[in-house]
């Protein structure tokens, strides 16, 4: 298990190109021991490339990577558990045979290996299927096997790539619960995904990878603050009433049965509801327009794209370095969260200082 306050992953100014195609450009980040860090990014953003750089499969074009305090990544691999995105395993083996071989590669033998196998097979709930060929396994079972193989060497760091990709809802839930149990045991986890709910469910901190850089970082704890923007569903909305509503604020948009309130305030929301009630409109539902994490993610990606299209990282008065290209919640707490910045921009009210989760 990792020691607290150690930096497990240190990446400085990392760039990676394939020929003329630049995938990562000056990326920097830190992950501390015991932390579950979620890297969020669209498909093709370079998340898997980053994982392969951390494992030493790829060589950086520029910059530095240190994992568990060492830059000799090949040597550190035995202390890292890796769960790949694609569930490609050697299917001509039974689960127990496969895990036994992987355990031997991790330097486990004899009774220590047998005990570890039994323990992990129970953990991932594969007792009944341990002696079945992997070719007969479902995707969900293969993903649970992936978790077991990653834990064989009792790793100090777990690198996980799109853990629920291609799984049905039941399989997704099983894998997420399994990963949550690892988090609760104190494993340091670096999780790459493009699913927001995985970040919300599992992670302590989130970074958004866009256009080869960390466009923004935040504590997930901060992003759990409910969004003030709301969507109201009504049975009907006459044109006159729509006009009346839209004159209340620039942030109100109306469709025939939907009203969206952005830049919302309690007072504005009350006024909108009052108008609807006075007009005798039936209010069918009132719900947050989007989750703060979703807002955080889309804003980070859009801003990064806009900045790149502008041809400069020095845009709209924001700082020029990769980490400062968006407001960032730093682990030390000296920065502001993007959420705060967004709320300030959107509603004109700041939500206070960023708090590092306990």
């Amino acid at each position: 298990m990792s020691r607290e306050n150690d930096v497990v992953i240190e990446i400085d100014d990392l760039s990676k190109s394939y020929g003329h195609h630049e995938v990562l450009r000056g990326l920097s980040l830190r992950v501390e021991a015991g932390e579950v860090y979620g890297l969020l990014g669209p498909n093709g953003a370079g998340k898997s490339t980053l994982l392969h750089l951390l494992l030493g499969f790829l060589k950086p074009t520029a910059g530095h990577v240190r994992v568990l305090g060492s830059s000799n990544l090949e040597r550190m691999r035995a202390q890292i558990g890796y769960i790949p995105e694609r569930q490609r395993y050697h299917t001509r083996y039974t689960a127990r045979e496969y895990l036994r071989f992987m355990g031997e590669m991790n330097g486990l033998y004899g009774s220590a290996l047998s005990n570890r196998l039994d323990e992990l097979i129970i953990l991932v709930d594969l007792e009944a299927d341990a002696n079945r060929m992997l070719s007969t396994f479902s995707k969900g079972m293969l993903q649970r096997l992936g978790v077991a193989q990653a834990l064989l060497g009792d790793p100090n760091l777990l690198l996980i790539d799109e853990p629920t990709s291609g799984l049905d809802p039941v399989g997704q839930r099983a894998v997420l619960d399994l990963l949550a149990s690892l988090r609760d045991r104190g494993h340091t986890v670096f999780l790459c995904t493009h699913y927001l709910h995985e970040i919300e469910y599992l992670c302590d901190r989130v970074g958004v990878l866009a256009r080869g850089q960390i466009a923004a970082e935040a504590w997930v704890h901060d992003l759990r603050i409910p969004s003030s923007n709301v969507m109201i569903e009504v049975d009907r909305l006459e044109p006159e009433l729509r006009t009346q509503l839209q004159t209340l604020s620039m942030g109100i948009t109306c469709e025939p049965r939907i009203i969206q309130i952005r830049q919302n305030t309690p007072q504005l929301q009350t006024e909108v509801l009052q108008l609807l009630i006075n007009a005798g409109v039936a209010i069918l539902s009132l719900a947050p327009l989007e989750s703060p994490l979703e807002q955080f993610y889309s804003q980070a990606v859009q801003t990064r794209i806009q900045m790149q299209h502008a041809g400069s990282t020095d845009d709209a008065g924001l700082s020029t370095t990769a980490h400062e290209s968006m407001p960032v919640a730093r682990p030390t707490g000296e920065g502001e969260t993007l959420l705060n910045e967004l709320l300030r921009r959107n509603s004109g009210s700041a939500n206070g200082e960023t708090n590092k989760p306990e």
Binding site: G46, S48, T49, L51, H52, L55, F57, L58, K59, E74, R77, A78, I80, G81, Y82, P84, R86, R88, Y89, H90, R92, Y93, F101, M102, E104, M105, N106, G107, G146, Q149, L152, G153
Partner: protein, 253 residues
């Protein structure tokens, strides 16, 4: 040890997948077509001439099959468990070599049981087998080195070009060669001589397999040359594989 264990792992997968049936069938076909008793008994020279050609051909197929097995995203998980790239590459090489050597072994046993060469004893078989196995290993190592897994495209094309140039004396000869300007001829001869050097141990190795003539020191020197060339090819492959970006087929991030 890890490369040996990995070799066993790859071999078991190859056998369980049923792919090994091709090697077994090919070996049986070669025996029944070329080596079974038809009227007269065969001699050792004939036996080694057949196996000396068959084994390298089988090496081409089997090594390609194992390179394919090694060049899959499954390799990422194996390497993530602390296996070094060197062990990984040697495991692939060892697996291919084992299958071809095993096929040759089966062919030898069948010949010994059903149509034993009259002038061949176990010692003679070993003398012929040693350079043959080294040739199998050389070819497997060369194929591994030239695979997309190990060498980038540019290097692959360069090495293949050099090999073609080394062989060119067999294709560019007589009137064509004489029609070239004298300076070009001189340069071409020199290049062919230099590049043809590494091929000598393999060709002489085949001759040694057939003749089993170890009466001169040249034979021993050739065995050493085969071993040296094998180490050089494997060393170059390991060096290249350890330095390049690891991107298995259909598994690029």
């Amino acid at each position: 040890m890890r490369s040996l264990r990995f070799t066993g792992f790859m071999l078991l997968e190859y056998i369980r997948s049923g792919r090994v049936a091709l090697e077994i069938i090919a070996t049986l076909v070669v025996f029944f077509v070329f080596l079974r008793r038809v009227g007269i008994s065969m001699n050792a020279e004939y036996f080694f001439s057949v196996t000396g050609v068959y084994a390298p051909i089988l090496t081409l197929y089997t090594t390609a099959a194992f390179i394919g097995l090694g060049d899959r995203p499954q390799g990422y998980v194996l390497l993530a468990h602390g296996m070094s790239r060197t062990s990984y590459l040697l495991g692939i090489f060892g697996s291919a070599f084992s299958i071809v050597a095993g096929s040759y072994g089966i062919l030898s046993v069948m010949a010994a049981l059903f149509n034993r060469p009259l002038d061949l004893n176990i010692f003679g078989w070993m003398l012929g087998t040693l350079p043959l196995l080294l040739n199998i290993a050389l070819l497997a190592a060369l194929m591994l080195m030239l695979s997309p897994l190990v060498f980038p495209s540019a290097w692959r094309l360069t090495v293949l070009g050099l090999i073609a140039l080394a062989f060119s004396s067999n294709f560019i000869g007589g009137p064509i060669f004489e029609s070239l300007p004298s300076l070009v001829r001189a340069i071409l001869r020199a290049v062919q001589a230099v590049l043809g050097g590494p091929l000598v141990p393999a060709f002489y190795g085949f001759q040694l397999t057939v003749t089993r003539d170890y009466s001169s020191m040249t034979a021993v020197a050739n065995i050493l040359a085969q071993v040296s060339l094998l180490i050089a090819l494997l060393g170059l492959a390991i060096y290249s594989f350890s330095r390049r970006d690891l991107m298995f087929s259909d598994g690029a991030p």
